[in-house]
């Protein structure tokens, strides 16, 4: 029977020769990831259900990355990191990345690949909806809740319903120079809606995705959850393998969709015809072109998160900000400590990204999720009032970045940087041709 890439991974992990969409199967888990918001309740369910002295099913497969509420005075938030630390110590967990140490990483979805935990053909679950990011590496990755995570922590297994697959085929070898992967995924979400892929896999194929670097692919798979997708996946190729081999010595298996695999639907996009996009408040599918909303007044710009806080996102922003001054409060939040280091080492015409941002008048923060999801009131960059913000993040729900009175426009790092210079939404084609 012909199968898609996702079906093949789920078949392999359920010990079956083949699986069909709609079928419920129990699968073996390769990596379980949790963080400071969902880790503590997961640990308490684990202890409650399996016993105070219960052992984790496989210490090497559990990864704990505190990243959400790190640089805050909130006593409950800090208490939650203490709970992770105590659990890691009690179980001598090798993959705990503690706050305040050299091991601290920052945003889990960017830290996982950096630390070699995203490998083709594997199954990754995480207690965070953007766990789907790791599908960029040709694996099955999706978000779950605390109860499911506690179940995996004790058994190494979980049930899943095999999803149907929607294929998004990218024609064209390259995007125009002013278009980024963020524009493509905002366009797709706008086309199919915030529930357009509910319960389904979004598979990205064609020469357009093959031509993208790994970070651009991660931007695309990161936001499949914004269309309701269960997972997003890109077929592994030499780009994938080159990255994975540079970060991990572990064996992995490459799966590909059969040419005659059955798809729920197939959608074609010609990347050469794409334009800069935004999602207007208060929904990621509220699409417009940057050109259509150009001139909308803004009070803040924000570049960060698992979606738009990777090194390539800051290189893009710096290209536009170099030698210029921002007109509104502009926040730069590197996803991880490695990305933050990169701001100092990566240069454009001899000038570091950090120096470019400082000279432009941006505020640079520490690696964490920061204001992407609001968080405690003292969170760096949080929208505490009636701000109108343009952001490289992934969600613009009411109150998502803080106050219910604020509004958020989602866009690419190019569009956010261009807009920060004018204090109003600006099509990046004004700066890049």
């Amino acid at each position: 029977m012909s199968m898609t890439l996702t079906e093949k991974i789920l078949a392999k992990h359920s010990g079956k020769r083949e699986v069909e969409p709609g079928e419920s199967v129990w699968i073996d888990v390769d990596v379980l990831m949790t963080h400071d918001v969902c880790g503590p309740p997961t640990i308490s369910i684990f202890k409650n259900e399996f016993g105070e002295d219960a052992q984790v099913w496989d210490k090497n497969k559990l990864v704990i990355i505190p990243d959400h509420y790190i640089f805050t005075e909130d006593k409950y938030a800090n208490r939650n990191v203490d709970i992770l630390r105590a659990f890691a110590s009690e179980h001598t967990l090798p993959n705990y990345y503690d706050v305040g140490t050299d091991r601290y990483k920052g945003v889990c979805h960017v830290a996982l690949p950096e630390e070699g935990f995203t490998r083709p053909g594997e199954v990754l679950f995480g207690t965070d909806s953007h766990t789907c990011t790791a599908g960029a590496f040709g694996e099955f990755a999706t978000g779950i809740g605390n109860t499911d995570a506690a179940f995996i922590m004790g058994t190494g297994k979980l049930w899943v319903k095999v999803p149907e697959t929607m294929q998004f085929y990218f024609e064209g070898d390259s995007m125009p120079p002013y278009v980024m992967a963020k524009d493509i995924i905002l366009r797709i979400i706008g086309d199919i809606g915030v529930d357009g892929a509910t319960y389904r896999t979004m598979e990205f194929a064609g020469p357009g995705i093959k031509a993208m670097d790994i970070e651009s692919r991660m931007t695309i798979t990161n936001m499949v959850i914004e269309a309701g997708g269960k997972n997003g996946v890109v077929e592994p190729d030499e780009v994938t393998e080159e990255y994975v081999k540079s970060r991990s010595d572990a064996d992995y298996e490459l799966f590909h969709s059969d040419p005659d695999a059955k798809y729920y639907s197939q959608h074609k996009y010609n990347l050469e015809e794409m334009v800069p996009m935004v999602a207007k408040p208060h929904s990621p599918d509220n699409k417009a072109t940057a050109e259509e909303v150009a001139g909308t007044p803004l009070t803040r710009a924000y570049i960060g998160s698992c979606t738009g806080g990777k090194l390539s996102d800051f290189v893009a922003a710096a290209k536009i900000l170099k030698g210029r001054k921002v007109a509104i409060d502009t926040f730069i939040v590197p996803a991880t400590t490695e990305v933050k280091q990169g701001l100092s080492t990566e240069k454009i015409d001899g000038q570091s990204l950090k120096n470019i941002f400082e000279e432009a008048g941006c505020n640079i923060g520490n690696a964490s999720c920061a204001a992407c999801l609001g968080g405690p009131e003292d969170t760096f960059g949080r929208l505490n009032g009636e701000e109108v913000c343009i952001s490289t993040t992934n969600r613009n729900f009411p109150g998502r970045m803080g106050s219910k009175k604020s509004s958020v426009y989602l866009a690419s790092p190019y569009t956010v940087a261009a807009s920060s210079l004018n204090g109003k939404i600006t099509d990046p084609r004004e700066y890049i041709n």
Partner: protein
């Protein structure tokens, strides 16, 4: 299995109610175990929903009153894609702590649905149509689980509900752990062994 009929007052919401609206991220710091801290999840349940869209059709009705920790409403009736966004299990937990027993919506976001079922927090029932324009906040409702019917006692109307399908056994057991114990996949808790 819990009682077959769930009775309660309706609380009506629109479409795409995301988990940031159900429980805003700043409140995700409280312990779900500690009885005193846990109450705050009830207090802040649905506090992120724009107030004009809360308690339809008239709006401006919070699920939980300002000085309260629990709601007078037990059944949420909402539009499609309920629970989209973040995977925070605190969302179905917050609704349960506020006193919500069941939700009726034409469709759910996947992770919220799973969390509701696997954690045994609230029962996510699927209606054939979007009932958020039919039912009014404060209507007296009855959900007849076995017959798969939602009865609106106030308006004297009935609506069919979709079968629960493959998750029915997990809901009947009361969550994934209870189900897995029943199936012999997870050992019994020591204190439960007689």
């Amino acid at each position: 299995m819990a009682e077959d009929i769930i009775k309660g007052k309706a609380f009506v919401l629109g479409k795409n109610i995301d988990t940031d609206q159900i429980i805003p991220a700043q409140h995700l710091v409280y312990s779900l175990e500690d009885p005193e801290e846990r109450k705050f999840y009830g207090k802040y349940a649905l506090s992120g929903t724009p107030i004009e869209e809360s308690g339809l059709p008239q709006g401006n009705i919070p699920l939980v009153k300002d000085d309260a920790f629990e709601s007078e409403f037990n059944i949420i009736v909402a539009g499609p894609n309920f629970g989209c966004g973040s995977s925070r299990e605190h969302a179905p937990a917050a609704l349960q702590i506020a006193g919500v027993k069941a939700i009726v919506a034409p469709s759910y976001a996947r992770i919220f649905y799973r969390n509701s079922v696997d954690g045994g927090f609230v029962i996510p029932l699927e209606s054939m149509e979007d009932l958020s324009k039919e039912v009014k906040t404060n209507d007296e409702l009855e959900i007849h689980k076995k017959d798969r019917v939602l009865k609106n006692v106030t308006q004297d109307k009935s609506y069919p509900l979709k079968p629960l399908g493959s998750v029915e056994d997990i809901i009947a057991a009361g969550g994934i752990f209870k189900y897995a114990r029943k199936m012999g996949m997870v050992p019994e808790k020591e204190k439960e062994v007689s």
